[in-house]
């Protein structure tokens, strides 16, 4: 098992290198002289030149990239000119908020999506199946920011039940935190919820018609055990893969949802940084998001291996 994990981690190195290169290239290609942006358009020429030297912008591109790469490896993402603080500090401040939001969303999505998918598969072509699959399709098609606005319109503007801005604080009790969380988390979860329901259903349908499920029934095992023990365990791998993929969507969705609900997380940070042309922050936050994605997919890979004994067997044999 540890061999597989190690192998997967080694495979990640080139991907991470490419990620850093892409981020570096994109930010270097962005229009405008960073030194000028920091100092403002009215800054005197000498100051801009001095800044350019200070930032190492006069060096060749490979040199700059090398320096940047070394910095990243040391955990130095540069400094935000806007906040005049190290980017890493800012990121570590915002990241937990986004993880908290994304975690809550994925939890909601899993708790609703997977059971709906299972029931749909077990009652294929029933009214429940048709209704939930239509709902899932609408869920996949819904722009999350629109859903956010509609939720705010109904629950904050019209009914006044829920706050529409910020995270709340534990100082005001758990209720305050939850009431701030519920709309953004639900809003961010709809796409994933729908996705999980669809994939779970498809995967379950695939498994339910396999010989081994009939064989389990032939053993006199009750329907509940057949579905939840045998069918579900066999149907899970594709679902787990999708969970990993969904994190990417969640991070993307967070950009929108955090903007709507003024959620102090990574998404809002990126949008603000792009607006301010705060390159160090853009680079740092984008890199962090990509790293998280890669990390989560590593975890998914490992979970997948755990769920499917055949893969463990084959890779172990291959490794020998």
């Amino acid at each position: 098992m540890s061999k597989i994990i190690l192998k997967r981690m080694v495979q990640l190195i080139p991907v991470l290198f490419i990620v850093v290169s892409i981020v570096f290239a994109i930010t270097r290609l962005m229009p405008g002289n960073p030194a000028m942006i920091i100092l403002g358009p009215q800054a005197p020429r000498e100051a801009v030149e001095k800044m350019t030297l200070e930032m190492g912008l006069d060096k060749s591109i490979p040199e700059q990239f090398g320096k940047y790469l070394l910095g990243v490896l040391r955990g130095d993402f540069g400094k935000s000119y806007r906040y005049n603080r190290p980017v890493l500090t800012i990121l570590l401040e915002k990241l937990p908020n986004t993880i908290y939001l994304a975690g809550a969303s994925i939890l909601i999505a899993l708790l609703v999506g997977i059971p709906v998918g299972i029931v749909s598969a077990c009652r294929q072509y029933s009214i429940f199946d048709y209704a939930s699959m239509l709902a899932a399709l609408v869920g996949v098609s819904m722009p999350p920011f629109w859903l956010g606005l509609m939720l705010v319109l109904v629950f904050s503007v019209r009914l006044g039940w829920l706050p529409s801005i910020g995270m709340g604080s534990f100082g005001n009790g758990i209720g305050d935190v939850l009431s701030h969380l519920v709309m953004p988390a639900f809003c961010l979860s709809t796409g994933s919820m729908a996705n999980f329901a669809r994939v779970t259903r498809a995967s379950m349908l695939d498994v339910i018609h396999q010989d081994y499920i009939k064989a389990v029934r032939a053993k006199g095992i009750g329907e509940r055990t057949v579905i939840f023990k045998h069918a579900l365990k066999n149907a899970l791998p594709p679902v787990v893969t999708v969970i990993g993929m969904r994190f990417s969507f969640l991070m993307g969705g967070a950009i929108l949802v955090e903007s709507i609900f003024s959620w102090p997380g990574m998404g809002r940070l990126i949008v603000e940084a792009i607006g301010n042309k705060d390159y160090a922050v853009i680079q740092g936050s984008v890199l962090l998001m990509a790293f998280i994605y890669v990390l989560i997919n590593l975890i998914v890979d490992i979970a997948y291996t755990y769920l499917n004994p055949k893969i463990t067997y084959e890779t172990e044999r291959g490794a020998r």
């Binding site: 499920i213 064989a215 053993k219 006199g220 095992i221 004994p309 055949k310 067997y313």
Partner: protein
């Protein structure tokens, strides 16, 4: 040479374990009702072995699945009865059926590569069936499972309990599956083409195993196959199916010596036999039955075999022939094989 599990069929004592009468299982699809099983009758004595033969698509598997009541959602037993120890399985509630499956009747499937759950250790799968039907402690269930694996000839059973199905060869997997089937000492084992998916060399071993187990435990066996050769050596009685119907049912001996239905004749003629057809130094090619079986959505108005039958008459297109007892214990369904008159079998 295998010494078969002879059934004293219907003539001698043997109390009847399973009595199937006029069983009809239909599938309701958007393009019509598929009458996959449409009139199947046979008896099986306690401890006896019955072979169900017929070409693929004749409804053999559906018939055996019907006994287990393991049908897909669109399939239904629409008529007939399945009396197992006097209880009609058609009427039994699903809840009670759970107690019968795996304990009273168990089943062995065609393809061992797909019939074991790939994500559970085989030990757990054998234990599962034991614990579903018997109150056992963990240790007892474990040792019972090991016992079952030993019986089917798995080497190092203690160790293999922790292996996953993909770590076994096809023949070994089928042995594991048989272990699961016999774990609760069922009264009846339905083996649905248990060797079709296996290598030829392994086929014989698995069949031998089934014979041994049947003898040891006194279990009744239904062997579904398209291989008549296997039936002669293993089964006491034979039911021949064609297009969902029982066309002939007799003891293996009677069927071998005196087959009565034209379809059975065709089936026998198309069987390769050692030494056969070599008279006068000529190689006689294997006979085939011309034509194809009917569409099962369109049957039930006439003799299903009429379009392929060399002996057909007008009545065959008009009426469904009933299954009648022509000789004691020997049944056939043909308009021209009656107590009133018989057909003469032409040389193939």
């Amino acid at each position: 040479m295998r010494t078969g599990m002879r059934q004293n069929a219907n003539e001698a004592a043997g109390e009847t374990l399973l009595r199937v009468r006029d069983l009809r299982t239909h599938f309701f699809t958007g393009s019509g009702v598929v009458k996959a099983v449409d009139g199947v009758s046979f008896d099986l004595a306690r401890g006896g072995a019955l072979g169900i033969v017929g070409e693929s698509g004749s409804g053999k598997s559906v018939a055996s699945n019907s006994i287990m009541r393991l049908l897909p959602k669109n399939g239904r037993i629409v008529d007939g009865s399945i009396l197992f120890e006097g209880r009609d399985l058609v009427e039994v509630r699903e809840k009670d059926m759970l107690k019968i499956r795996g304990q009273e009747i168990s089943m062995i499937f065609q393809d061992p590569m797909t019939s074991l759950d790939p994500v559970f250790k085989i030990g757990d799968q054998v234990i599962e069936v034991l614990r579903a039907h018997r109150r056992l402690s963990n240790a007892e269930a474990w040792s019972e499972a090991v016992k079952a694996l030993t019986m089917v000839g798995i080497p190092e059973p203690e160790k293999r309990m922790n292996s996953y199905p993909h770590e076994f060869s096809g023949g070994m997997r089928q042995r594991v599956f048989i272990a699961m089937a016999i774990a609760c000492r069922p009264k009846l084992i339905i083996a649905d083409e248990p060797t079709t998916a296996l290598d030829v060399t392994v086929q014989a071993q698995v069949l031998d195993l089934l014979v041994d187990l049947q003898r040891e435990m006194g279990t009744s066996v239904i062997l579904v196959t398209h291989n008549l050769g296997v039936v002669w050596s293993l089964c006491g009685a034979v039911m021949v199916m064609y297009a969902g119907k029982t066309v002939e049912y007799a003891t293996a001996k009677d069927l071998y010596r005196n087959p009565l239905h034209p379809y059975t004749w065709g089936l026998l003629n198309s069987m390769p036999r050692l030494g056969a057809g070599k008279e006068k130094g000529k190689e006689k090619p294997l006979a085939i039955i011309p034509g194809t079986p009917p569409d099962l959505r369109l049957t039930a108005r006439n003799c299903n075999f009429h379009n392929r039958c060399a002996y057909r008459g007008d009545v065959c297109k008009e009426e469904v022939p009933p299954l009648i007892e022509l000789e004691p214990g020997h049944f056939a369904a043909c308009h021209f094989q009656t107590s009133g008159g018989r057909l003469t079998r032409k040389e193939a």
